[in-house]
């Protein structure tokens, strides 16, 4: 063998050996399972996997995943208790010293800020920061501005928002820390609206431009970094002082990876590459995942439904809408779409509400559905079913389309990108006939459902949330009247239940599920350490290892 050939052979052997070594290292890294720490109290880092977030800007974020993170970062005047179950819906003081005093006419709310509050950059939190947060929402056309238009002067400000403009209904005093909010009309849900993250104070003058993870925080954590569509990191806010109602978080650091694929996210937890995932585990893997990790089932207030535009044929006929409700096999859909992790429903409200009264107006009956379609003369009517390009939405809409075809309609499916779905179906020019939708509660009050989704007075030509374009004089009037009720007394709840039944008898919707969400943990997290806050999900304050 010549010298050159010998060197060539030797280099080849070394290259192969190096490649094999790298492969072995890669496989062993992939298969590494996390070991339980020797000190069970230590909890240096939580590695979480979320499927997606929209923003990390308090005046912009409007997804459950974003809010799960931001509840621990941006505090509001009022917040919710860090406890399990219905008690977690109780409003408690956050940045405010106490619950507000409310005038007799329900229009004036008076708060006082806690003393000594600081942002994560060390700057003082002052009363006017709250006003700036509301103004910033209007300046940035944030997704939550609609909640605050009942503040006196807000509508005028919204028409021509400027940084130096004023919302006359918010009066602040930085010396005393007082915040007075005057409403144009009383709202029974206003306290819960104030607890939304949209109203989290931010330093005065913070630019209305979207700022993901860079706005100083007031909560137990702050954002350390954000890599769009990839990851973000939360670390402790050293200026945060825990209170009776807002405890410190347990993990020192929370590393969040954004992984869109549910299978991958689930496998990461099983493999020990992540501690927690909120991904929608595929139905056929749920039982398997439970055996390989810790599955916590969380039932928050949600309703999945198919809306039917009462202005578009054939759904402008009541019998057709009722036929659809009769035709859907809600029980079977829970298995098909969620692997059984859901409860069939015919209600608008989920069962977590005190005003919930179970409805069974449309027991599954395909024969009756076909008869109603015949009676309505809608046989062969062309229908386009709209849905968004997300697995469960496509699956449920596919099933829904087949149901419509089975009762005599001529239905086809139209799948839109996730990012543009709601704006498209909420635009009157689309003339969308029927489609998929869901609503996860923003705050625990029936107004968050009926006023937003089914009040004819709130219908807009664009960005409309009432996808059925449902309007009815009786129910509209009753919703407006119930808006003023300050407290959800049994009598008020009974009126809400009556409104719901009246609406469902008109069948603008075909509700089909209250979903139960799987929260999946690695086995290194003991089951007793996993606690759920009904509104915001896994509670970092009580999570342990």
């Amino acid at each position: 063998m010549t010298g050159k050939r010998r060197w060539g052979w030797l280099l080849g052997v070394v290259a192969i050996a190096a490649g094999l070594a790298m492969m072995a290292a890669a496989f062993s890294a992939a298969g590494t399972k996390s070991r339980a720490p020797s000190n069970p109290q230590a909890f240096p880092k939580l590695r979480a996997v979320l499927d997606t977030i929209d923003y990390l800007d308090p005046q912009q974020a409007y997804t459950g995943q974003s809010w799960w993170a931001m509840w621990n970062v941006y505090e509001t005047l009022l917040t919710y208790r860090h406890v399990e179950g219905a008690a977690g819906y109780k409003l408690v003081p956050g940045l405010a010293q106490s619950l507000p005093t409310i005038s007799k006419n329900g229009k004036v709310y008076h708060f006082k800020l806690r003393k000594g509050l600081k942002y994560s950059n060390g700057h003082k939190v002052v009363a006017s920061d709250f006003k700036w947060a509301i103004k910033r929402g209007f300046l940035a056309t944030g997704q939550g501005v609609g909640f605050y238009t009942d503040i006196a002067g807000a509508k005028a400000y919204a028409a021509h928002p400027t940084p130096n403009g004023n919302i006359s209904g918010i009066i602040t005093n930085n010396k005393t820390g007082s915040i007075t909010i005057k409403l144009a009309t009383p709202r029974g849900d206003f306290l819960t609206i104030l607890a939304l993250i949209f109203a989290a104070p931010v330093p005065g003058g913070t630019s209305p431009d979207i700022q993901n993870g860079t706005i100083p925080s007031t909560g137990p954590y702050r954002f350390k970094s954000y890599d769009p569509n990839h990851s973000f990191v939360m670390v402790r806010n050293k200026y945060f002082k825990p209170t009776k109602y807002i405890p410190r978080g347990n993990p020192n650091e929370v590393d969040v990876s954004l992984v869109g694929d549910a299978d991958t996210a689930t496998q990461m937890v099983i493999n020990g590459q992540a501690d927690y995932s909120n991904a929608a585990i595929p139905p056929d893997r749920i039982a398997n995942a439970q055996s390989k990790g810790r599955l916590k089932l969380r039932t928050n207030a949600n309703t999945y439904y198919f809306w039917m535009n009462i202005n578009e044929s054939p759904f402008n006929k009541l019998k057709v809408r009722q036929a659809v409700n009769y035709a859907i096999d809600r029980g079977k859909m829970q298995t098909l779409i969620w692997g059984g992790l859901g409860k069939p429903t015919q209600n608008v409200l989920p069962p977590t509400y005190p005003s919930y009264r179970k409805l069974n107006l449309y027991p599954h009956n395909v024969t009756k559905a076909k008869t109603l379609i015949n009676q309505a003369g809608a046989n062969g009517a062309k229908v386009t079913v709209w849905t968004r390009n997300v697995s469960d939405a496509v699956d449920s809409a596919t099933y829904y389309t087949s149901v419509l075809n089975s009762i005599g309609l001529n239905a086809t499916l139209n799948i839109l990108p996730k990012a543009t779905y709601y704006t498209t179906i909420g635009n009157v020019a689309t003339h969308a006939q029927t489609g998929w939708a869901r609503w996860l509660e923003d705050y625990p009050h029936p107004l968050d459902w009926f006023d937003v989704l089914l009040n004819g007075n709130r219908i807009t030509d664009q960005d409309n949330n009432n996808y059925a374009w449902y309007t009815n004089k009786t129910t509209n009037k009753e919703i407006e009247a119930l808006k003023k009720a300050q407290v959800l007394t049994p009598a008020v709840n009974a009126r809400w239940a009556k409104v719901e039944k009246q609406i469902m008898m008109q069948a603008p919707w075909a509700p089909w599920s209250n979903r139960t969400f799987p929260e999946f943990f690695n086995k290194s997290i003991p089951a007793k350490c996993i606690h759920v806050q009904n509104l915001y999900g896994i509670d970092l304050a009580r999570l342990c290892k």
Partner: protein
């Protein structure tokens, strides 16, 4: 009669010589006949053609299979049904978590989808079911039908437009060639998939309703037209190159000299001489288009669910890849077999038509 041993060989004497030597008359053969003779000796190419034709026939018989064997349409949801497999009654989709209202808890159990019955259920659910209870075998055949329609249809359109543009560019040259070449360059500059996804997604929302043409959002015409549009340069440029070289040949000059107009020159002189190239490219572009369609459908920009195609079958099957991997594998294998058979046949065809030709699709 030529004296044996004579060395003079003229055109007049050659047939006589051949007859004496081989007792058979020389018959002039066309290039097509010679190509066919070369092709029929290429058993691999013929075998591949046979595989492709078998796939086409099977997919074409999808309605027959669905109606007479599986008793299920491609979009029929059988989720709540039961079927007898080897005498045992089984749920098409069963299991799943069970809710106990008394304790308000769920007993988590696995969801069980009917696996392949392999003809033990009288032809129903031969390849099992997906998460919505569809008959996968029926969807595979209908998916193949849609994929082949789009692949072959777009190949026709793409080749036709590419040929027309290439003929115009190659024959006229000058400004015509410049404009058409820049048009090719413009489309060529975009990555094929990105351009196809952008156009396909935009058209899928509201369809196409312009210039008197009305195409509904879910129509197969949309992916067909999108794919044929984005791949025009990939067929047009090789043909244009060949025409440019043919244009300088003497027979073209002769035709022009005899008073032939541009149309006659293009279609009577140039076109027959590029026909073999066009034929090979057409075969290869079908395979390319089937892959493109599968990719677009996988990404949601091609055939729209619930209409099946091999690409969207793979996409919908990936959720169950751990428990039912055949839902992804079988359509994937179908794509591989189809594309491979077309490519091998296309190579054989190229060798047969002109063994010295270097015709290939370049991306």
């Amino acid at each position: 009669m030529v004296e044996p041993g004579a060395t003079d060989l003229t055109l007049d004497s050659a047939p006589l010589l051949a007859t004496e030597e081989h007792e058979a008359a020389i018959i002039g053969r066309s290039p097509w006949y010679l190509a066919w003779r070369r092709l029929r000796r290429n058993y691999v190419a013929l075998g591949s053609l046979g595989v492709f034709l078998l796939i086409v026939i099977c997919c074409s018989l999808a309605p027959v299979y669905a109606h007479h064997v599986a008793h299920s349409g491609p979009n029929d949801v059988h989720a709540g049904e039961h079927v007898r497999v080897s005498g045992k009654l089984r749920s098409v989709v069963g299991g799943g978590a069970v809710y106990d209202p008394k304790t308000n808890t769920f007993d988590v159990k696995p969801v069980v989808y009917l696996p392949p019955t392999w003809w033990h259920a009288n032809g129903r659910f031969v390849l099992g079911t997906d998460k919505l209870g569809h008959d996968e075998a029926v969807r595979l055949l209908y998916g193949g039908l849609n994929s082949l329609k789009i692949g072959i249809g777009s190949a026709f359109l793409c080749t036709f437009f590419a040929l027309v543009l290439a003929l115009l560019a190659g024959h006229f040259g000058g400004w015509t060639d410049w404009v058409i070449s820049r048009f090719f360059d413009l489309i060529w500059a975009f990555p094929v998939f990105l351009l196809a996804i952008a156009i396909g997604t935009a058209l899928q929302v509201n369809g196409f309703h312009h210039f008197g043409i009305n195409i509904e959002p879910g129509s197969l015409w949309i992916p067909t037209l999108v794919i044929s549009y984005v791949l025009v340069p990939y067929v047009g440029r090789p043909i244009r190159g060949q025409i440019l070289s043919l244009r300088e040949k003497e027979f073209i000059e002769a035709a022009i000299g005899q008073g032939s107009g541009p149309l006659r020159v293009m279609f009577s002189e140039l076109l027959p001489n590029v026909a073999s190239t066009v034929l090979v490219l057409f075969t290869l572009i079908i395979a390319n288009n089937i892959i493109t369609e599968a990719g677009l459908s996988f990404l949601g920009a091609g055939v729209r669910p619930p209409s099946p195609s091999w690409g969207n079958l793979i996409a919908s099957g990936q959720d169950q890849i751990q428990t039912a991997p055949w839902l992804c594998l079988v359509p994937g294998i179908a794509i591989v077999l189809t594309v491979l058979s077309l490519n091998v046949f296309g190579d054989g065809l190229r060798d047969a038509l002109d063994p010295r030709a270097k015709v290939r699709l370049e991306h």
